[in-house]
Symmetry: C2
Subunit: 697 residues, 2 copies
């Protein structure tokens, strides 16, 4: 949920006029980086060698986030909120590292993050021709199947070992298909994390605001063969005493999760009216429930923290979308752009009518998507069964069926190329908290009954004579899937083992499986496949008009963009400066959550350079998934760490406003200063190559 990866059935469509009017906009792929454009905009250069260094130093966090190597020994910098699942999982009732922070006393005390994977991009190959060829002459639904099969084949062929992860990525809404090959790190350990009190200072109330005062950072380490991974490409700090000023260039690499800037009006309206509003309600309700759940006790608060942050993050994002899509301005822009594109497309007598037909096909598909959505979300996307144990149960059940089929015919997620990830996930030692599982599943089953109706046959089949709470309690208490060994045993044992286990959670998954698959198949055949086909037509006209002077929508794959350190002026006239200082945090300290600084900070106050920069803002074009992205100066040196955007950036799904949209960073110098003065981490500072930090800005 963290990066709000709406890996939606409703894929994006390219249509609007080239957007790259402003220098800062654009989430560019590494293989189609507009070097000349960059040079013109910044006066700096980014030659292929340096670009390659950026790529090789950047890291994707599989659970949804970004990071980078910051030493040659596999040290990885990311946000606290990206690492928080790990921090929570390695915590115990006696040692709550979320609350009190963590620092490994030495390398051999670094703690294994269960199930966490890091991916380093090693190669991109254009496979558009192969994907196209596989679907030639087929109707939409058949083409959809053939496309999935070809993608599975390409990924499997690419994935030569468990240390490699391959993904075919749909770019420009199917205008381009690229094969991304990653180096895979599955042994990742926690090195250092600050207290939540400073990582998330100001918490939820400040969530929409800047100035901010957060040390939203943590350090992990990638291991290979039980030893720290070698990472010759990494981001070094600028020399001690370097200044950062308004107007300085900021390069950001990272994995923006999902944008919809090129969607058609029909897609955007369909999402706004029938996707966004129910999502806002679902998230609001579970947020209310989670706040109260955490009041049950200290342990319950600790267990639910991760989901709570995820919900907060998603809510923030979706509220941003609502702000962008209600009130008309953004949507009106999309409408104007679509009209202009259609007019221009119609000037071509040969392809014009086909483009119009493609738009009509998408609109029709949206009608069906609307009718299927609730069922699809509830049954197949698991919103009606929100629980870690249920996820494991479904995965095991499906694996036991799918793995018996030829690779090309399996559900996506169960291809041979997915098996290493699947094993890592099922074998993860992440703790499962029964009480919290019951809470989540009760909530989800209640929504299932409410949204599909108590009379729906599938609801009756699921609940029988039970209330949601009774059922949730029974299947959670009765399941043995909290044990990673049991999960791996069932994965290895296949159908026979899964059946013999008689696990009540797997039985629950089995009750809904046929129905869930059925609605998924309709979504794939009658919505996705139609939309993808229509894209190809529209995108062809688009490439003809604009070439590749545009960037593709975000797809949670590595991108690079640039901007400058900048504050902004609110529509109200209020001027927001680009830098905040340590002193500002102390001014806001009230002692009451979430404005309570940790004791370590209160103690260190006399030694802190209170006027030194803490957080800063820039006009980089970022979105959920960029959390943890490194910020680099024109020389490629680490100057900061993305951790948020301002309220205006939240509409970034649908466009970019240079005047108002801002990325928000932890200043790298602030991190160094805190590691030194607050946390006394001399070894880490040495590894980061940090000289004694300068006092003052």
């Amino acid at each position: 949920m963290k990066s709000r990866l709406r890996v939606s059935a409703l894929l994006a469509l390219s249509l609007s006029a080239p957007l790259g009017a402003s220098a800062e906009e654009g989430m560019w792929t590494f293989n189609r980086f507009p070097a000349a454009h960059y040079e013109k905009s910044t006066g700096a250069q980014l030659d292929p060698k340096r670009l390659d260094h950026l790529r090789a130093s950047s890291i994707r966090v599989s659970a949804g986030g970004s990071a980078s190597f910051v030493s040659p020994d596999g040290l990885v910098l990311t946000n606290h909120h990206v690492a928080s699942d790990c921090i929570e999982q390695v915590s115990t009732p006696k040692a709550d590292y979320i609350k009190r922070g963590f620092a490994a006393k030495s390398r051999d005390k670094e703690l294994v993050c269960p199930g966490l994977e890091l991916h380093g991009l090693t190669r991109i190959t254009d496979v558009t021709a192969q994907v196209r060829k596989a679907t030639e002459g087929l109707d939409d639904a058949k083409a959809g199947e053939a496309r999935r099969a070809e993608i599975a084949r390409l990924e499997k062929a690419c994935q030569t070992s468990e240390a490699v992860h391959c993904e075919v990525v749909k770019l420009y809404n199917g205008g381009v298909w690229d094969l991304y090959e990653y180096k895979r790190y599955t042994d990742v350990r926690l090195v250092w994390a600050p207290e939540l009190g400073i990582a998330f200072f100001g918490g939820d109330p400040d969530n929409f605001m800047f100035p901010r005062y957060d040390l939203d950072a943590s350090l992990l380490r990638a291991y290979e063969g039980g030893k720290p991974a070698k990472s010759p490409d990494f981001f070094a700090l600028p020399p001690a005493g370097s200044k950062l000023a308004e107007g300085d260039v900021v390069l950001v690499t990272g994995n923006p999760g999902s944008t919809s800037r090129l969607n058609t009006v029909a897609q955007t309206e369909n999402w706004r009216d029938f996707g966004l509003v129910p999502r806002l309600m679902y998230l609001s309700e579970i947020r209310g429930a989670l706040v109260e759940y955490a009041r049950r006790g200290k342990e319950q608060a600790r267990h639910s923290q991760g989901l709570f942050f995820g919900v907060e993050n998603s809510l923030k994002s979706f509220r941003g979308e609502a702000d962008a899509l209600f009130g008309g301005a953004v949507l009106e822009q999309v409408r104007v752009a679509e009209r202009a594109f259609k007019e221009r497309a119609l000037a071509n007598k040969a392809t014009g009518p086909k483009v119009m037909q493609a738009f009509a096909d998408i609109e029709r598909a949206m009608g069906l998507a609307r009718a299927l959505r609730t069922r699809y979300d509830m049954l197949e996307r698991g919103r009606g069964f929100n629980s870690d144990l249920f996820s494991s149960a479904r995965t095991l059940l499906r694996a036991s069926v799918e793995l018996q089929k030829p690779d090309a015919e399996r559900l996506s997620g169960y291809h041979d190329s997915n098996l290493p990830g699947l094993k890592n996930q099922l074998g993860s030692a992440s703790p499962v908290y029964a009480e919290f599982e019951i809470f989540r599943l009760t909530f989800a089953l209640t929504k299932l009954r409410e949204l599909l109706g108590a009379d729906d046959p599938i609801v009756k089949a699921v609940l029988g004579k039970d209330s949601p709470e009774q059922l949730a309690t029974r299947v959670v208490r009765g399941s043995k899937l909290a044990d990673p060994k049991q999960r791996l045993r069932l994965l290895d044992g296949g159908a026979a083992a899964v059946q013999a286990a008689k696990d009540p959670m797997i039985a629950l998954a089995a009750v809904v499986d046929a129905e869930a698959r059925a609605v998924r198949k309709r979504m794939e055949d009658e919505v996705d496949a139609v939309v993808t086909r229509a894209h190809e037509t529209i995108q062809a006209a688009r490439f003809e008009m604009y070439g590749t002077t545009q960037y593709p929508d975000a797809t949670f794959t590595p991108r690079v963009n640039w901007g400058k350190v900048r504050g902004w002026t609110e529509p109200s006239g209020r001027v927001v400066a680009p830098f905040t200082t340590f002193g500002g945090a102390f001014e806001r300290h009230t002692g009451a959550e979430p404005f309570a600084l940790p004791k370590s900070w209160l103690d260190a106050k006399p030694r802190l350079a209170l006027d030194a920069s803490f957080n800063f803002s820039s006009d980089n074009d970022i979105i959920g998934g960029n959390s943890g992205s490194p910020a680099l100066d024109a020389q490629g040196r680490l100057i900061g760490l993305v951790f948020d955007g301002n309220i205006h950036s939240l509409g970034g799904d649908y466009g970019f406003d240079t005047a108002l949209n801002r990325a928000v960073f932890v200043d790298a110098r602030a991190l160094v200063h805190a590691l030194d003065v607050v946390y006394g981490q001399a070894d880490l500072l040495r590894e980061l190559g940090a000289a004694p930090p300068a006092k003052g800005k």
Copy 2:
């Protein structure tokens, strides 16, 4: 919250073409009932005398609902969910009447409902001329003030004793102002209520559905001078053995809360985009929190039940609005109607341009309303301070200031004419549960901080260094306003007493009072007054075109409408029959909440006529506020009790669809049968004039 009385600043505007195309649509006032239309539509007659009998037998529940006299001794029938506040308040930890139901052993054991008021309409006087005259020649804001002053004057003059309640009602969006005079009953007692398990059988999951199986009924009694009130006008039952069949005429009297069928497009869009979505999120979040709060324990569940039902009800209503307003069909109708009206209005060269100007004025006012809305909702409408104690504190604080001013200059709600209601409310013995108050206020303060921002001066002034929970705990624990005697003492004592009390909750109210009044004043002067003025112009053109062949929007004042017993056909093709039976409830009984029938019903099963009618549906035009409305046959005899609408009726705020919108009733025969067979209430049956109930339908 129950009837979702959005007594909104955004008043309605009349614009669409006459809607009365279908016989069943229309919430008619008693003084402009279209008798000829009724006769044509039903073949029955409703002469002035009978209409007057309907009026005199009908009752408004001041907290938001409808009811009727059902015996000459002041016996009042309404919904369980309308009386539930009372049932909750007279309950104790040892006697949870919500859960186990209530039956007074004899009249002297009937329990006083704290603060509950019933109103019986006695007279309607047209005061349009007076209201118009008061505002002649004034600019919008001044006219707003003068109008409020004149209304206060008219109400005060009308209100000759504490047994009389008077209200000037804005009808046809200000096209007509009528003075409504009510007889006021302030001593209301609980006579009988069933268990929640049958009153709300199927609960939330069934909330959007029909068939239903609910005995959502309860009996109250109005008292005067400590004795049962005499109610010569009351609704009698039809003779025993009477049949009710599909197609039979159903008259409904009651107090529909609020519709917006005549709003302009600008108003409707403004509400949808900036009012409805935040409201859905607020309600969803508090719903999630309430479900968890109730899990703290049995007592907490009991205390929070009332608010939970209110939230559920509102959510249901607003979701209905969302269904109507998203997706375009309903909104498109409003757009088409507005265009048609404008064209027709422009045909009049003299008034046409003024009408256009009026539309433009409203659109401009909506822009401001949008900017003010969050602040207004949070500070003035109390959404940032959701707590009974805070309400009392604000009322006392404001009363201490307002009552010193001349009557005409006071805030509305503090005129002499409001004093009896105010005293009744403040003197009510409704219990206040400190833990629940803290929960509510914590939630509200958290939203206040989130939505206005932690840096907002008013938020800083409210919270200081406290967290929402700390502040809520301090002011709730420190306040003495839970004691009705203390509240009345402070009301009587005026400013000096209020100040001397040093009550922390009053201190909190004082912190926000200036700011809350300021945003209210802007809303009144720059939005409401502008919109009301614009209405007058538009409505004048409208009366010229259509006369009074249209009904005004609902205003929580007594109305009458008619329809027929009817099922419907879902768009999916599923046919829904208009009657359900007792047997259906037993078929759905699972033993788990909310499908758990009470023990009394399980025990009585052998004696129940399982094929007898339980609930039925009709195509009457109802909306929130009609809860508890009596259903009458063409002879004016009691055949049922409105308790809900089907999912389609929830869009009724913006229009009425005869094919799909249905009201849902408890069959009066079912009530009689249950009182007999399940509850053994021989005295009540005698009072209702019920012969031993017939077995079978």
